[in-house]
């Protein structure tokens, strides 16, 4: 007889029947009934109505029945908290049962019932169970502390459970130790700055001893915990490594990977001259290779991690290329990862074999895989110079196959090869031109046009070829249009006599018939250049191009170091650091700039007083909540606007002491009468004195840079805090960040250099002369195409137009004009950023209706269509553009330069969803 019969009762009045059965005198019938209830619960039926009847079955000497009732309680207690109290007595009694299995069961279940009233009763039994004589009960109680902490952290602290839990690390039983470590690590994760785990040489020694004795899972908990420890010197690091290395021989892949994490991290501290360092390196390769024989999912995790490991220490696997060769039956996600690692390991020594493999893959059937294989060939050519010729000929062979997507992919990579090795492989151009007609993907078309334009003097019919693309100019994607424009200008500069008409045609298509600002801008630049100074034009457009770099997809070193500490975890699979606080997500990466005006404004102008969430230590690349964006300064509801400056967010922790060897940095940004500053608070939480502070910023979107050195006058003694206001300028070098307002900071002291990133509120960049001239506002406003507009509503905004206006003005958002249309107040606002970019907005306020609508068109700077307006911003940008014109016009740099310059033209509102 099987249990499946319990799933089959679906009659009407079922609940009623079950009720009767549950209250039956016969034990067997009772048990049957509970099983039916659990079966129904399992398939998602609501059987909560039976709560009192099921709880009545709890007092039983039948273990199976007891477990089922407990299961029911876990599921429904939350929906019936008052009734759940009925169960408390039995729980408390069970915690005293002579059978340890029952005691453990009771404490385990109680921890899963997330009802406040129950947790109060849980404390006493839990305290006893943590000191139980039976290790099975103790190990269960240890986990229960973590459960309770998740429900009510304060209670756990008040009751002193954390100390008891810490004591369990010294327990005589290895399983208890392992669970205590797991529970403490889990709790510590939600208190990053607490010194909960308190790792010191003594406790580390205890953990290493327990490591030899506990189950495979316990070993993983301990290894993961060890990875958080920072040894005091290289000798300690080495001795830990020596005791962890045997774990590399464990049959469980997860144990191996956690051991690899500890070793990779501690290796940092070992001197490379040490014999032991070399031994350790050698010991790491075989277990990593063996991971590739594991189940595909584990292989995938292993490969994502190996990808990090080969970037960090390429020497470990440099001789193991062959194991990454793709097998026919590998799942596609394994194939793609293997391919990536193959390219990373490619070197002069193994390139022949790699190329033969890549060529093989390029003739497979899976389109994504084939494309990636073709790209890989191009990357090999750029990475291993000696192989370039071979790669080119392999690509030509592939072009001969005439498989459409292979041809297109090949042309894209050949363009990159031309960029890397100019004037070397142009003999293949003829073959490429034969395939012109089959190209239907924008990237391939753009690449081909670039090639034709770049080598126009060697292609007899270059004008015909380019002209053929011109016919459908408006149907092409922007990428192709831009390339075609540049290509034809190049052609004209090389063969001016025959192509005058062509260039006229493309310039007018780009400037007069196009809605695309990028295209128009570029068209105007060329037009002006060509008409004013053809010689200069030649110098600019046909200038020598910077060579492209070989590996563009390497993970940035500080991030890589961080990810190495997360080997084996989800972060290492995503190649993204986790966030403390909100969990990591992949979908919200683009939040940054977009949200500045969107959701933020909405919630802020809203009724409640907004408190900026700490942006602390939240790695920006994951899309941290930008609480302190534009939003804060639109905080219209709080009574008085600050007179002297704009909104200042409370200081948040940017660098927790745990991550910076005891140095804690918190801070915020302010703008006061035209000057921006970073207000810092440095706290020494280490045991030694800190001196020699210095600060540096990475390049960022608005060129923020310290305007003065970081002045800490006296050495910072332990437990001392100092407040510093660091003036900032906006004349530093510019690089587009993701999100736009991300700032990467390095702080140095006598101990080490520490890195963190933070998001600065954009309004610190709003300048005081951001009030646009009325005429100019009008002209610009009219000029904005509809599609560049975004609008959104701000709910529950009880202010009138005056109040809104003055509120905004305190943050340098100025009212240019005001009018009243059909009883609604319309406010026309402008603001200017430090880099001269204007943002315009219209606010519509209906008296009596507590909401206002903002219509924010794209910031429009058309330097060449509005040349008569003397505007500092324009000049600034024009200078910058001129300076990098040559680079800017090339396909490779258009992508990167666009990021730096052009995109900052079109900040935020452009991309707001309408």
């Amino acid at each position: 007889m099987t249990d499946s019969k319990y799933f089959t009762t679906t009659k009407k009045g079922e609940i009623f029947e079950l009720k009767a059965e549950l209250n039956s005198d016969k034990k067997e019938k009772k048990k049957e009934a509970v099983k039916k209830v659990i079966a129904s619960m399992t398939v998602g039926k609501d059987v909560s109505a039976l709560f009192p009847d099921v709880v009545n079955c709890m007092q039983t000497d039948n273990l199976e029945l007891k477990k089922l009732v407990y299961l029911y309680l876990m599921n429904y207690a939350k929906s019936q908290p008052d009734m759940a109290i009925m169960a408390v007595n039995t729980f408390v009694k069970d915690c005293e049962d002579p059978n340890p299995l029952i005691r453990a069961l009771a404490v385990r279940t109680m921890g899963c019932i997330r009802v406040d009233k129950i947790t109060e009763y849980l404390c006493e039994p839990l305290r006893k169970c943590l000191k139980d004589e039976d290790p099975y009960v103790r190990k269960t109680a240890a986990v229960c502390v973590a459960k309770l902490h998740d429900i009510n952290a304060q209670l756990v602290e008040d009751q002193g459970f954390l100390d008891t839990l810490k004591d369990l690390i010294s327990d005589s039983n290895p399983m208890v130790v392992a669970n205590a470590v797991a529970a403490l690590s889990e709790i510590a994760e939600s208190h990053p700055s607490s010194n909960l785990l308190d790792l010191n040489p003594q406790s580390i020694n205890k953990l290493l001893t327990a490591l030899n004795e506990c189950t495979e899972w316990g070993q993983i908990f301990i290894l993961d915990c060890l990875a958080n420890y920072t040894p005091k010197d290289d000798r300690e690091a080495q001795s830990i490594c020596e005791r962890v290395t045997p774990r590399l021989s464990h049959a469980n892949s997860a144990v191996v990977l956690s051991a690899v994490k500890v070793l990779m991290k501690f290796m940092e501290m070992l001197s490379k001259d040490l014999d032991y360092y070399g031994t350790l390196l050698k010991k790491l390769a075989p277990p990593l290779v063996t991971l590739l024989s594991a189940e595909p999912e584990l292989q995938y995790v292993a490969l994502r991690n190996i990808n990090l490991i080969v970037q960090k220490r390429p020497e470990i696997l440099k001789h193991e290329m062959k194991v990454f060769f793709v097998k026919y039956n590998d799942p596609i996600y394994v194939k793609l990862e293997k391919l990536d690692i193959m390219i990373r390991l490619a070197s002069q020594a193994n390139i022949a074999q790699v190329l033969a493999e890549l060529k093989e893959y390029a003739t497979e059937v899976d389109v994504d895989f084939v494309r990636k294989a073709v790209r890989a060939i191009g990357r090999c050519a750029i990475k291993v110079e000696q192989s370039a010729e071979r790669c080119v000929s392999t690509l030509l062979d592939l072009i001969q196959t005439k498989v459409n997507y292979v041809v297109q992919e090949a042309i894209v990579v050949i363009k990159d090869i031309f960029r890397k090795y100019p004037n070397k492989y142009e003999s293949v151009i003829a073959t490429l031109c034969e395939n012109l007609d089959s190209l239907d993907e924008p990237e391939a078309r753009a690449a081909m046009i670039w090639i034709v334009g770049e080598y126009a003097e060697r292609i007899d019919n270059a004008d015909e070829l380019l002209e053929s693309f011109l016919e459908g100019f408006h149907d092409e994607s922007t990428q192709v249009q831009l390339q075609l424009l540049t290509g034809i200008v190049k052609l004209f500069l090389k063969k001016p006599t025959e192509t005058q008409e062509l260039v006229q045609q493309v310039l007018s298509l780009a400037t007069q018939d196009s809605d695309n600002p990028d295209l128009r801008d570029r068209g105007y630049i060329y037009w002006r250049l060509l008409s004013t100074d053809p010689v200069a034009a030649k110098e600019v457009v046909l200038a020598e191009k910077p060579l492209i770099s070989e590996e563009t997809d390497l993970i940035e070193p500080t991030l890589l170091d961080e990810l190495i500490c997360y080997i084996g975890t989800l972060a290492s699979v995503y190649h993204k650091p986790p966030m403390s606080g909100p969990p990591l997500t992949t979908s919200s990466v683009q939040m940054g700039a977009v949200d500045l005006l969107g959701g933020g404004l909405d919630s802020l102008i809203g009724g409640t007083n907004f408190v900026a969430p700490p942006t602390a230590a939240v790695p920006a690349s994951l899309g941290a909540p930008i609480g302190s964006g534009l939003s804060d300064l639109f905080d219209l509801t709080s009574g008085v606007g600050t007179l002297s400056g704009s909104y200042v967010a409370p200081k948040a922790v940017w660098l927790p002491a745990m991550k910076a060897k005891g140095l804690e940095i918190s801070g915020t940004f302010t703008r006061q009468v035209g000057s921006i500053s970073m207000d810092l608070q440095l706290t020494n939480k280490a045991l030694q004195v800190m001196t020699d502070f210095a600060i540096q910023f990475n390049r960022n979107s608005f060129g923020l840079a310290p305007a003065a050195p970081l002045q800490v006058h006296a050495p910072l003694s332990p437990n001392q805090t100092v407040e510093i206001s660091l003036p900032l300028s906006t004349v530093g070098s510019v690089m587009k960040m993701e999100p736009l307002n991300n700032l990467q900071v390095a702080v140095k002291n006598n101990i080490d250099v520490f890195y963190f990133s933070t998001l600065y509120p954009l309004h610190i960049l709003f300048v005081e002369d951001g009030k646009m001239d009325r005429q100019m506002f009008l002209a610009t406003w009219k000029d904005i195409p509809n599609e560049n507009e975004a609008q959104f509503q701000i709910r529950d905004c009880p202010l009138n137009a005056e109040a809104v206006s003055s509120k905004l003005q305190s943050s340098n958002i100025f009212t240019v004009a005001k009018r009243n249309v059909e009883g609604q107040d319309m406010l026309y606002q402008s603001l200017k950023l430090t880099n001269g970019i204007w943002v315009l907005a219209e606010l519509r306020i209906q008296p009596g209706n507590p909401s206002c609508t903002v219509r924010a068109p794209a910031p429009t700077l058309r330097p060449w269509s509005l040349p008569f307006v003397p505007c500092q911003g324009v000049v600034l940008v024009e200078d910058a553009v001129q300076a990098s014109l040559q680079a800017w016009l090339e396909p490779e740099s258009v992508r990167s330069l666009k990021r730096t310059f052009l995109e900052s033209f079109h900040i935020h509102p452009v991309r707001l969803p309408r």
């Binding site: 075989p286 277990p287 995790v301």
Partner: protein, 397 residues
């Protein structure tokens, strides 16, 4: 709507996009999943969980369920849902894996509903012991250990016949029928050990990577290469090892596959046994790919029989016994439809399966197995060797 309800739609969507990976995320929840027959086993987390731990745990869960229910499928979950709940409770607590050793679990979670009488149904002390895999008080009349040394050969050869990858993955499996708490020591002709003890390199094998069952004392092995352990009762895999020494492929295949569009495919396959003459490969199966639209097969073989398996798009050439040094031939002929089908087909490799008993490619040997138990009984170890095909692929052009 509970989080898990997002899983299936998400999976289907990713599958359609051709971007299926073992890790999916929806909002702040991450799904780590594996598939077993018709079941998905899914773990959810919103933290930065240890992914490798999660996947190993999921596979371990399958192993435990299979031990309990013979097969794991929807039916067996339904039939045993009460015990599934009980097991999940013991296997994992608050996301932390606990006891996953099915032999030990079976001591206190049984198929029969257990009546709670005093003294019975207690936690076996084994659960929390340092030796968490063997219970005390095991008794056998005859004390014996059976050792199986199984070597699988993985091979990857490219279309022009050069060997890309050749590795041996060996496993040593034990069947233990021993009383009490015996201490075992296994001696292999391990090169590192021989060098340590000054025996020279003769007849020793260099193991590139070794993995052990958790019963083996890893620090001891790391120290002096001694494999010492207290074994679990019954069947288990003691260790596995890997070596990539270049050996001659045991069965070498040369093939010519000629495709004449719209008319026929002609296949010629030559197989050669490249191992010593005294040995024999058994149950040899050579799977040769054919186009999916092939029809009317005709075969000619010098030995064994060939069969067309249309659902796998292969011809399988089976040879019951294949002595070393011999060479055999198979020809196959297929018709092709005159209308060519649209989609392109991949070029699957030729796969080979075989078993060669009484033989290890690597030359590994069990030199001794010492068994010491405090009661002082005599126990007999028995050893068997076998070499078989692992992932054995030869690409076709």
């Amino acid at each position: 709507m509970s989080k898990i309800e997002h899983f299936m739609p998400l999976l289907v969507q990713r599958e359609e996009e051709g971007a299926l990976a073992p890790l999916l995320s929806h909002g702040e929840v991450h799904f780590l999943w594996i598939k077993h027959s018709n079941l998905y086993l899914v773990a959810t987390t919103s933290k930065n969980a240890n992914a490798s731990l999660v996947y190993s745990f999921l596979y371990k869960t399958i192993e435990v369920f299979c031990e309990y229910f013979k097969e794991l499928e929807e039916e067996s979950i339904r039939d045993n849902f009460v015990i599934v709940y009980e097991l999940l409770d013991e296997l994992m607590d608050f996301g932390f894996p606990q006891t996953t050793d099915s032999k030990i679990l079976q001591e206190y979670i049984t198929q029969q509903s257990n009546k709670l009488e005093t003294g019975k149904s207690r936690v076996p002390p084994t659960v929390t012991n340092a030796v968490s895999w063997r219970s005390e008080g095991i008794k056998y009349k005859k004390n014996e250990v059976f050792i199986d040394v199984i070597e699988s050969v993985n091979l990857l050869v490219n279309a022009n016949g050069s060997v890309l990858l050749s590795e041996i993955v060996g496993t040593i499996k034990l069947k233990v029928f021993l009383s009490g708490m015996p201490e075992l020591r296994l001696g292999l002709n391990d090169r590192v050990l021989f060098e340590l003890t000054g025996r020279g390199k003769n007849k020793s094998v260099e193991l590139e990577d070794v993995k052990f069952h958790q019963c083996v004392r890893l620090s001891r092995f790391d120290n002096d290469r001694t494999i010492s352990f207290i074994p679990p009762d019954g069947d288990f895999e003691l260790m596995s090892y890997r070596l990539s020494t270049q050996v001659k492929p045991l069965i070498w295949i040369e093939s010519v596959i000629e495709k004449f569009s719209h008319s026929r495919v002609e296949i010629m396959v030559k197989a050669k046994g490249q191992f010593k003459k005294q040995s024999v490969a058994n149950s040899v199966e050579i799977a040769v790919p054919v186009p999916s639209d092939a029809d009317s097969p005709r075969f000619k073989t010098s030995v064994g029989s060939a069969k067309y398996v249309p659902e796998r798009n292969v011809v399988i050439w089976s040879i019951k016994s294949f002595p070393g040094g011999k060479e055999y031939l198979m020809r196959a002929h297929f018709g092709l439809p005159s209308v060519e089908k649209e989609e392109v087909e991949g070029r699957p490799p030729i796969g080979v399966k075989f078993e060669i008993p009484y033989f290890t490619v690597s030359g590994i040997q069990v030199r001794y197995m010492k068994i010491i138990e405090k009661s002082g009984y005599q126990a007999l170890p028995w050893v068997r060797y076998i070499t078989q095909s692992g992932d054995y692929q030869l690409r076709t052009s």
